[in-house]
């Protein structure tokens, strides 16, 4: 049930209420952040009058909308939350368009109260905003008034049990005013008015909502960068002591093309890296992920870093929505899932983007099965199978919350099920075979998975990669940042995307680091896959997708060490060829024979049992 609720939240987007937010650090939370990052941003800082016009004491009982105490903008309300579970309600008349601010002073006054605030609409029921902690334990709500009327503010203690005779508070009612802070020069809300900052230096400013900019505040910073360098931009807001959630983006010299984006690199602070291929003036923007909300100060650190061997990257396709899953088909085309567009996109070798399949609700992970059909996990539950003609049908329905999917060389399908944190195995035709409890691997596992050279599944639990061998999970490597959908080359080297770090990393088959970063060009890569040629053979080319900017990248192929594992794509030979090979007419390569044996009985040669398995896979029938 809990998972179902989380899934719904992912689909509809998170609400501001903390209790409805997926567990921080979970895969669901990560997906939610990706979705939310594209839903509007920007704001500006709120200040209230230093000296209130009047101080109004509460008049108990004032614990309901009906008995609320009156207050006016500019006034300060004072009261005590006593006894335990006491709440106080205040009403204030507001005018459309105002940037209303209500700010708690309690902890700052030495009160033991850990306050939380709720703003109600004039109907007294609709929750418009909620805040627990902004300035330490003290709360603040900043809110653009949508329509003139009487609004209600409820103050309570966190957990409802903190009331006591000492739980004093002051509530400052006012409107937002923004003042010049730091080195930014307001208005700096466009490329044309950007404040310049040089590499190696930093800029400071404040994200503060103002009436004149209903879309919210966004600060532009102009940075001149040289080709061949990699920009490293970092936001530090947390050290100012306010709870802000800044987002950071980088725009091309045209001021409109977004090149990179990050939200929450460390805590709520953001950071991104981007490889510069053309010397010019680029624009960094800082805004508030929540849209209108409380103001916060920040420092923007501007540096360059040494690129990885996989840099520079090359953009192969863009406007892909929010791509989370990536697979390469047997003709060399790249397929990506667009979680926001409920579709699968096909990117041709030439870079042409077309819709391959539509109507799959919130598709996440994709993989080709042994018959060449695309398997797609859906946040709505279940696994879809898409024919080469793009017809999607529900295929696997018995999991609780299937999230990531991979297909082994033997055609078997592996799925991570977040519902019970297990790794489930299905036959090539979708029949459930067995499952492995993966709670023991810890963190958020099991997460993204891939099939290794030996045909065993490897799975990320967050910052570690584990492999399932003989029914037991073994830890292969531990890294310092989140690892998403990784891929193997034929030597067992692991190309791992780390979206939080904004890098690709390269590990060898023992888990030792070969290159960190391998590439820093992708902003927040989520999935990696090896390219294939027109016959389905894997290439020495690595692709990655970045949902933050909706793009498909290719890393510098000169740095890719081996071709990708052939894995799960059916060899390009017909059933007749397979039969002829079985009966002694030849026509199969050593790799084909190896594939067929892996598909069947694994006895080291190609025999009638393997042929039977191949026949079943191609015909999509059950045993």
């Amino acid at each position: 049930m809990r998972i179902a609720i989380l899934a719904v939240l992912v689909l509809v987007g998170a609400t501001p209420l903390r209790a409805q937010t997926p567990r921080p650090g979970s895969w669901q939370d990560a997906v939610r952040r990706l979705r939310d990052a594209h839903v509007g941003h920007a704001i500006r800082s709120v200040r209230v009058a230093a000296s209130p016009a009047a101080i109004i004491a509460e008049s108990e009982p004032n614990d309901s909308i009906r008995t609320a105490d009156s207050i006016a903008l500019g006034d300060q309300a004072v009261g005590v939350l006593n006894p335990a579970r006491d709440v106080d309600v205040w009403f204030v008349d507001l005018t459309e368009g105002q940037l209303f601010s209500v700010d708690v002073d309690a902890q700052v006054l030495g009160s033991p109260l850990d306050a939380q605030l709720v703003l109600f609409a004039p109907d007294g029921r609709t929750v418009l905003a909620f805040n627990d902690d902004f300035d330490g334990f003290d709360s603040r709500i900043s809110f653009r008034v949508p329509a003139s009327g009487r609004y209600f503010v409820l103050i309570s203690s966190f957990g409802q049990n903190g009331g006591s005779p000492q739980a004093r508070y002051a509530l400052n009612f006012g409107t937002v005013t923004c003042t010049a802070v730091g080195t930014e020069h307001e208005p700096n809300d466009s490329p044309g008015t950007a404040t310049r900052v040089t590499i190696g230096d930093s800029g400071t400013g404040e994200i503060c909502p103002v009436v004149e900019r209903p879309a919210g505040d966004v600060d532009y910073w102009a940075i001149t960068a040289q080709a061949g360098t990699t920009l490293d931009l970092a936001i530090d807001a947390a050290s100012f002591g306010f709870v802000g959630d800044p987002i950071l983006a980088l725009y091309a010299p045209d001021g409109t093309t977004r090149l990179a984006f990050n939200n929450d690199f460390i805590g709520s602070d953001s950071r991104l890296q981007f490889s510069i291929t053309t010397t010019g003036t680029y624009y960094a923007t800082v805004a508030n992920v929540l849209g209108f909300g409380d103001p916060f100060r920040y420092t923007l650190l501007v540096r360059t870093i040494v690129p990885g061997p996989g840099d520079p990257i090359t953009v192969r396709a863009e406007n892909l929505g929010i791509p989370l899953g990536l697979a390469v088909g047997s003709t060399g085309d790249v397929f990506v899932s667009d979680v926001s567009g409920n579709r699968i996109l096909r990117v041709s070798i030439a870079g042409a983007v077309t819709t391959f399949a539509a109507g799959i609700p919130s598709p996440v992970s994709v993989a080709f099965d042994a018959s060449g059909q695309l398997l797609v996990t859906s946040l709505a539950g279940g696994v879809y199978r898409v024919t080469p003609q793009g017809q999607a049908t529900r295929f696997i329905t018995d999991g609780i919350f299937p999230f990531w999917i991979a297909v082994a060389p033997d055609g078997r399908i592996w799925i991570t099920d977040l519902g019970n944190r297990s790794l489930r195995r299905y036959s090539a035709t979708g029949q459930f075979e067995t499952s492995f409890d993966a709670i023991g691997i810890g963190q958020s596992g099991p997460g993204p998975l891939a099939i290794g050279p030996s045909g065993e599944p490897y799975v990320s639990n967050g910052t570690e990669i584990w492999r399932l061998r003989n029914g037991r999970f073994e830890r292969l490597l531990t890294d310092g940042s989140l690892i998403w959908a990784f891929a193997f080359d034929v030597a067992g080297n692991i190309y791992a995307p780390s979206p939080v770090a904004g890098t690709l990393k390269l590990f060898d088959s023992t888990g030792a680091v070969l290159a960190d970063p391998f590439a820093v060009g992708p902003d927040a890569p989520q999935a990696v896959a090896f390219g294939r040629d027109g016959t389905g053979a894997t290439l020495v080319r690595v692709f990655a997708i970045d949902p933050q900017v909706g793009r498909l990248f290719e890393v510098n192929p000169a740095a890719v060490r081996q071709r990708g594992l052939p894995g799960y794509v059916t060899p390009p030979f017909s059933l007749d060829v397979a039969a002829a090979g079985l009966l002694g007419a030849g026509g199969l390569s050593a790799a084909d024979v190896q594939y067929l044996d892996a598909l069947g009985n694994h006895n080291g040669r190609y025999d009638v049992g393997d042929f039977r398995a191949y026949l079943r896979v191609l015909q999509g029938s059950n045993r």
């Binding site: 039969a579 079985l582 007419a585 009985n601 049992g609 398995a613």
Partner: protein, 132 residues
């Protein structure tokens, strides 16, 4: 499978793979059909490969529940694979120019796999016979 076990399996297969034929039940010559019958000690056979030798073989067929794949080596030798639920009895129908000479045809079993795709390590107890 180790080399020793593999050799054992091959030797065993040579001993137990049966090449035999029955006498024709109807005299007279002309185009006709012959039945290749399987004798199996198992109840879960899912696939087999075979070889048929004889004066001349025009074609082969199976019933609709099975799938047959064949390769003509020459006019007198046919190899093939049958996939499906195999059981004791007639499996393959041979179409020959002279249906009266069943005794001139021999059928040899090469491989058998069970319905989980596993190859039989031994063909002991198996037989293929050609009858009219």
């Amino acid at each position: 499978m180790t080399r020793a076990r593999w050799m054992f399996a091959m030797v065993a297969a040579l001993f137990v793979s049966v090449s035999c034929s029955d006498q024709p039940t109807n005299p007279g010559s002309g185009p006709g059909t012959l039945a290749v019958r399987l004798t199996t000690p198992h109840g879960d056979d899912g696939a087999m490969t075979f070889q048929v030798n004889g004066p001349s073989i025009e074609s082969a067929s199976v019933n609709g529940l099975l799938q047959l794949f064949t390769l003509r080596v020459n006019d007198s030798t046919l190899v093939g694979a049958v996939i499906g639920t195999l059981a004791n009895g007639a499996i393959i129908t041979l179409h020959v120019p002279d249906g009266s000479v069943a005794a001139a045809y021999t059928a040899t079993l090469r491989e058998v796999a069970d319905r989980e795709d596993a190859l039989r390590a031994s063909l002991a107890g198996y037989a293929l016979t050609v009858t009219r």
